[in-house]
């Protein structure tokens, strides 16, 4: 299996702050979309910044397309498309001016594709970025990321603040992007419904630690939440579940194999689950 991105034992501490990335490890297989899920402050942006060398890790190995990306490797950066959770570009520029700037910087800049994407996403090409709404600037940043021959997209909350119609268009663009088997995407998002649609894998991060990486379909159809009475919960063995949480009179229990659990506990109701619920149970539950 070839990986577009491999993060191994990434650690980063901020002096004067409690927060740190603690042995973060995960890998994005080539041709796939990985969703990066975690609450605000969990370390998503820090991780992505370390991957891109805007922050210097304390330790760990990061490989992109199989190689470590040092500052000199401008050739690797040429194939990475980035959208940060910010305006990203100088406010006084317009999309067209931005294009003329990037034409001289990216080696494989495709101006025609960029214009096509601006139209498709309905981003006005001659309006100054400072006059664009947040949603518009994210669309613009996505258009840029897709217009220079990138093979890996790193998207930090690229769809937040967008209405469902536009988000649908963006998700389509991402699926089109991975039609090429060598293209991959790492996308962090609060909008887990988007990830449930297009992600192949989900990685959960909390307090600077990776708590789970799994197939999306496994999470949605094999994982489940058992709704137990207090007695039923007592009867469970710790090895049978991942996390539990008392809610009112019941205990919600996260299990990784609905079918086998149901066979052993025919009397316990097991529900299908969502990424949000899994996250809640992993973060707020007792392990």
């Amino acid at each position: 299996m070839k990986y577009s991105l491999e993060v191994s034992n990434l650690t980063k501490a901020y002096p004067g702050s409690d927060f740190r990335l603690d042995n973060v490890s995960f890998a994005v297989p080539q041709g796939s979309i990985m969703g990066f899920v975690g609450e605000n402050g969990s370390g998503k942006t820090t991780t992505i910044s370390c991957i891109l060398n805007t922050l210097k890790p304390d330790s760990g190995v990061i490989k992109i397309f199989g190689e470590e990306m040092t500052e000199e490797r401008t050739d690797i950066r040429d194939h990475i498309g980035v959208v940060f959770d910010a305006i990203n570009f100088p406010e006084a520029l317009t999309a067209n001016k931005l294009a003329s700037v990037f034409k001289d910087i990216y080696r494989h800049w495709d101006g025609g594709l960029f214009q096509h994407l601006l139209q498709r996403l309905q981003v006005p090409a001659d309006t100054r970025i400072k006059d664009l709404s947040r949603g518009m600037t994210m669309k613009l940043a996505t258009a840029v990321a897709l217009s220079h021959g990138a093979k890996l997209l790193l998207l930090d909350e690229a769809t937040s603040g967008l209405d469902p119609v536009v988000r649908e268009e963006m998700l389509d663009l991402f699926l089109e992007f991975v039609e090429d088997e060598e293209h991959s995407i790492l996308i962090s998002s609060h909008i887990t419904s988007d990830l449930e649609k297009i992600a192949d894998y989900i990685t959960f991060i909390h307090n600077g630690r990776i708590i789970l990486t799994e197939d999306k379909d496994t999470l949605l159809y094999q994982y489940g939440i058992a709704r137990c009475t207090a007695d039923q919960f007592q009867s469970l063995d710790k090895s049978e579940y991942l996390s539990s949480r008392k809610r009112g009179f019941q205990v919600d229990v996260l299990i990784s194999d609905k079918e086998s659990f149901s066979r052993q506990h025919r009397d316990i109701t097991v529900d299908n689950t969502t990424i949000d619920e899994i996250m809640l149970l992993l973060v707020k539950g007792d392990q």
């Binding site: 041709g31 796939s32 979309i33 649908e168 998700l171 389509d172 699926l175 089109e176 991975v178 039609e179 088997e181 649609k197 297009i198 992600a199 192949d200 894998y201 197939d215 999306k216 379909d217 949605l220 159809y221 299908n272």
Partner: protein, 132 residues
């Protein structure tokens, strides 16, 4: 090639049936009803994913199931096609369905206290299309 395809596939997001199962069972149904013939091409995994707006891994799982059950064949460079060798598999599929339905019927019969004779009579009636 992708845009020329029309596959009668409906994806329900609210179904408890996983999407990969919806895809594979609907394609199986199309094959069994003859709407897809052996040799007919089907979209590549990735273009189908794009067309129906689901993740690649979901389609991949569906295709793996279809391949394992003998409904499709995938060759590198040529894409995926309906397999010509599925006839036995269709038969198997039908048998599996019968078995499953009969099992459910027997369970229902047991729960309602129906005897085997009564059940058999019901079966004969239905086969003769005298069913409600």
């Amino acid at each position: 090639m992708g845009s020329d395809f029309y596959l009668e596939i409906i994806i329900s997001n609210n179904s408890s049936k996983p999407i990969y199962e919806q895809i594979s069972s609907q394609i199986k149904a199309l094959v069994m009803s003859g709407k897809l013939q052996p040799g007919d091409p089907i979209p590549s995994m990735r273009s189908l994913a794009k067309m129906i707006h689901v993740s690649v891994i979901t389609v991949q799982r569906a295709y793996e199931d279809l391949q394992r059950d003998g409904f499709i064949e995938t060759t590198v460079g040529r894409g995926s096609f309906i397999s010509a060798h599925h006839r036995n598999v269709i038969h198997e599929e039908h048998r599996r369905k019968m078995h499953e339905h009969l099992r459910l019927a027997v369970e229902a019969a047991r729960m309602s206290g129906t005897t085997l004779d009564e059940l058999t009579r019901l079966l004969v009636m239905c086969y003769g299309e005298d069913c409600q």
